[in-house]
């Protein structure tokens, strides 16, 4: 039982830190609420979809911004998508970077866009790491026989 308690505490700490540092916001809570017996892996599914989607979008963005003649409308559309996805799962910091990104797209400021792209990539990789750690801890907990409270 010690292990379970410890794991639970670890999980709780990690989750709290995610919220505290602003990686996630309340929307993530909502997602967790939607997980129930009929939908046991809802959160993992949504988050995985987010990862796929975001990676695709980030590649598209990198490609689009490398062009000689940058199609800012396309870039803006991608950023809009990214913003939507990240806000749906509560990836707050990613969402936060998307806002200035869109502004730079409107101004057609290439430098600004590239800078934001870097930032988005950075934030995304951070939140991805954290979420993967979270899921790992959850799995460990389940494997150890405990259950984590659905916050």
């Amino acid at each position: 039982m010690d292990v379970v308690v410890q794991l639970q505490r670890q999980l709780a700490d990690h989750t709290a830190s995610l919220f505290h540092e602003g990686f996630l916001n309340e929307q993530f809570n909502q997602l967790q609420q939607l997980q129930d017996e009929s939908n046991p892996d809802f959160v993992v599914e949504v988050v995985s979809l987010f990862f796929e989607d975001s990676e695709r979008l980030l590649n598209e963005l990198a490609k689009a911004l490398e062009q000689q003649a940058v199609d800012y409308k396309k870039v803006d559309a991608h950023v809009h998508q990214l913003k939507g996805s990240s806000s749906s799962i509560g990836a707050q910091r990613v969402q936060g970077v998307c806002i200035p990104f869109r502004n730079f797209c409107e101004e057609q400021n290439n430098e600004g866009c590239l800078k934001c792209l870097q930032q988005v990539k950075h934030e995304y990789s951070l939140v991805k790491n954290k979420l993967e750690t979270l899921f790992k801890l959850e799995q460990q907990l389940i494997a150890a026989g405990g259950s984590f409270p659905t916050l």
Partner: protein
């Protein structure tokens, strides 16, 4: 003609005498013939000789005389009668001509003589004109010098340059030995040597101003000759045998701006003069000429004007520099203020977000914690946490509201609402607190108080809560009564609100609320301070009650925004207090009553919680959002289909779908058009699905656009489970939903 040419018998003449006569006659004849030739020759040479006729006469006369003498040559010997006749003819002719000439000469000689006089006269005249010309030229030179001087003087507005230039130019024009300017000192009692021509740095000689010679100069506006020995003229050290040149002094008026009155030319109103001293070269025996003196006077005047111009310019330049400086400073201050405001706004925005996020986490998590299994101590602790964090959240909201109110950026959310229910809710909220303190609260709504009103319900409730809360807070026992009625115009004009001029109209009424408590009252002197931020009254009872002191300030701002007035009255400490406020509310049109918007404040506990079987269609082009929304709805039991484009949506939508969720901020796809198309697809009213727009935007434009195309509701993403639950229940109950964004 001493030889008379009468015909005489010959006598035996002396041979010698005859010979001599012969020769003389010959020469005479020669001369007589050559003289006219010479005359003709020279007259022909000269162009101007008016007496040609005289010449001819003279010529004839001479020729004839010559002829006579020539013919005489033949009479010395025996001559024939022809010769005698010729001689006679010649003599006769000669007599005639010579008499004519003699007569003519009487006229001519005076003429010729007068020519000479005329010539003399003209010569004199020419000499005179030359002299005058010389004079004029000198004067013109002088005039030119003056003009140039003036030009030089007036071309600069620098006082020093003006004076220096004056001296230099004057020195040059008049070939002066020395030229100096004495300026009055500040005290006005002395003249100080300020500028000289030859000496580079005039040492500060001073001379008292009341010397007689100086007075003499100052009293006249002409240039005055002064003695070279007077103190003002003794500038250069006299070196031995100099006979100093003549010295002239002239006054230079120093004009001030104040001297120039429009109607009053500065005659002798100015009392300050400078003294200009000019010295001719010594040992030159030159004298001051009148035109030179005139020049000096003119220059002095010009200098005066130039100096005053320079002074005026200096003043105005100084003023302008000052203004520029001030402008720059003001600009800087304005920019700093703007920066400060911007910084503050940014700070507030960030802080708002930063503060709210952890608050959110705390409140959310602790409220969830409350719903889990807890021991009583734990429950107590959690409740305390909740209460404190709610208080903190309220504080944060208050501060943010207040700063937005001060900016003027707060706008009321006008909407139609149920006025009676607002009061009832306030009562409900306050009753528990009041009953703990054993205070009785009564609510009295007038009969004519409309049930529905148009205004900002949230802020009205906030104001009411604050006022009533204060009443409860500051009362330890007794009762609190709340009275609300429609204010009529007589009662509107209150002596306690002298600046308040309400004007009721057909669309508006004035709501007057009086909250009377029997509590600790307020010192009447403190009443004005109550509405200022952060101030609290001094009595110790209040200090323990908490609160930031912002409440009344915020209420006042809200009431002002609602074009109303709020005030407090108290008879004194421990004598209770009455808070009154009047706000302007609109009267809703009768037909709008059926379209009452949904008030999200009402807890959704009594709505449907299970929407099993409700067929719903979700359209969103973002995969993640789609999945989340689908998850939400499935969690609530709906049967969800998802589409990701408008074509798919139109394809899939059927009359079985009761609700359609559309994301309207997708770029490239017009959600509003889609909504219109969907509605048109289903002709019969009961088949039309309810359309709800999901949006990340919170502006009024989106809301208005949605209402325009007939969308039944607008929700802001992200949506929580509870929100979705209440949304669905209200939607299905009322078929309309417009969340206060």
């Amino acid at each position: 003609m001493e030889s008379c040419n009468c015909i005489e018998p010959q006598w035996p003449a002396d041979e010698l005498l005859m010979k001599y006569q012969y020769i003389s006659d010959f020469f005479i004849a020669l001369a007589y013939f050559s003289i006219p030739l010479e005359l003709i020759y020279f007259v022909k040479k000269s162009a101007v000789f008016p007496y040609r006729w005289v010449l001819v006469q003279f010529g004839a006369f001479i020729v004839l005389c010559g002829a006579t003498h020539l013919i005489n040559l033949w009479t010395f010997t025996m001559h024939s009668r022809t010769v005698a006749i010729v001689m006679t003819t010649a003599k006769v002719l000669t007599a005639v001509v010579s008499c004519a000439t003699a007569l003519m000469l009487v006229h001519i000689i005076p003429d010729l003589l007068s020519v000479k006089t005329r010539e003399l006269f003209l010569k004199n005249k020419a000499a005179e004109l030359d002299r005058e010309m010389g004079l004029i030229r000198t004067q013109e030179e002088t005039g030119r010098h003056v003009r140039m001087l003036t030009h030089e003087i007036r071309s600069t507005l620098d006082r020093h340059t003006i004076l220096k230039t004056t001296l230099v130019e004057l020195g040059r024009t008049l070939a002066l030995e020395e030229c100096a300017l004495w300026m009055p000192t500040r005290t006005g009692l002395e003249l100080q040597l300020s500028y000289t021509l030859r000496q580079q740095n005039p040492v500060g000689y001073t001379v008292p101003i009341h010397l007689p010679v100086i007075n003499q100069v100052f009293s006249s506006n002409r240039a005055v000759k002064i003695s070279p020995n007077c103190p003002v003229a003794r500038i250069r050290p006299l070196a031995g045998k100099y006979i100093p040149g003549e010295v002239v002094a002239v006054r230079v008026p120093l004009l001030h701006l104040s001297n120039f009155q429009i109607n009053d030319w500065p005659e002798l109103s100015t009392k300050r003069y400078a003294l200009m001293v000019l010295m001719l070269p010594s040992d030159s025996a030159r004298q001051w000429h009148v035109h030179e003196l005139e020049l000096v006077e003119v220059v002095a005047d010009q200098v005066a004007v130039a100096l005053s111009h320079a002074a005026i310019l200096e003043e105005s330049m100084r003023a302008r520099d000052l203004l520029i400086e001030q402008n720059v400073a003001l600009d800087l201050a304005r920019r700093e203020a703007e920066t400060a405001i911007r910084a503050r706004n940014d700070f507030l925005a960030v802080m708002n977000h930063e503060m709210r996020t952890p608050m959110h986490a705390i409140i959310a998590l602790s409220s969830l914690l409350q719903e889990t299994e807890l021991t009583p101590e734990q429950r107590l602790m959690v409740e305390t946490i909740l209460k404190s964090s709610n208080l903190l959240a309220t504080l944060i909201n208050d501060v943010l509201d207040l700063s937005r109110l001060e900016d003027g950026s707060l706008q009321l959310d006008i909407g139609t609402f149920n006025l009676h229910s607002v009061f009832k809710e306030v009562l409900n909220l306050i009753k528990p607190v009041a009953s703990v303190k054993k205070l009785s609260v009564t609510l009295n709504l007038a009969q004519d108080l409309p049930v529905y009103a148009v205004g900002d319900e949230k802020r009205l409730m906030q104001t009411m809560l604050n006022v009533v809360g204060n009443a409860v807070k500051f009362s330890k026992e007794g009762s609190i009564s709340i009275i609300a009625f429609v204010a009529k115009s007589e009662s509107l004009r209150d002596s306690r609100a002298p600046d308040f001029f309400p004007m009721p109209s057909d669309n508006h009424f004035y709501l007057r609320v009086q909250v009377k408590d029997s509590g600790s009252g307020i010192n009447p002197q403190e009443i004005p301070k109550l509405f200022t931020k952060f101030s609290q009254s001094q009595s110790s009872a209040t200090r323990n009650s908490g609160g930031s002191g912002l409440g009344l300030a915020i209420c006042k701002r809200f009431v002002n925004l609602m074009e109303g007035h709020i005030w407090l009255e108290s008879d004194g400490l421990a004598k209770g207090c009455t808070a009154t406020f009047i706000v302007k509310l609109g009267i809703p049109e009768r037909s709008n009553e059926s379209k009452l918007p949904f008030t999200p404040k009402v807890p959704a506990n009594h709505g449907q919680t299970n929407f099993s079987g409700l067929k719903v269609l979700v359209m969103d082009d973002n995969g993640v959002s789609r999945m989340v929304t689908k998850g939400l709805l499935e969690h609530l039991g709906c049967d969800v289909s998802t589409v990701s484009s408008s074509e798919e949506c139109l394809h899939v939508v059927s009359h079985e779908h009761q609700v359609v969720f559309l994301d309207v901020c997708m770029p490239g796809i017009d959600g509003f058009e889609l909504a219109v198309t969907i509605r048109e697809k289903f002709a019969k009213r009961h088949e039309k699905p309810l359309i709800v727009a999901l949006t990340g935007n919170t502006d009024k434009v989106t809301k208005e656009n949605c209402m325009r195309v007939g969308i039944n509701g607008v929700i802001q993403k992200p949506i929580s489970v509870d929100k979705m639950r209440s949304i669905l229940s209200e939607l299905l109950e009322h078929r309309v939903l417009y969340e206060a964004l």
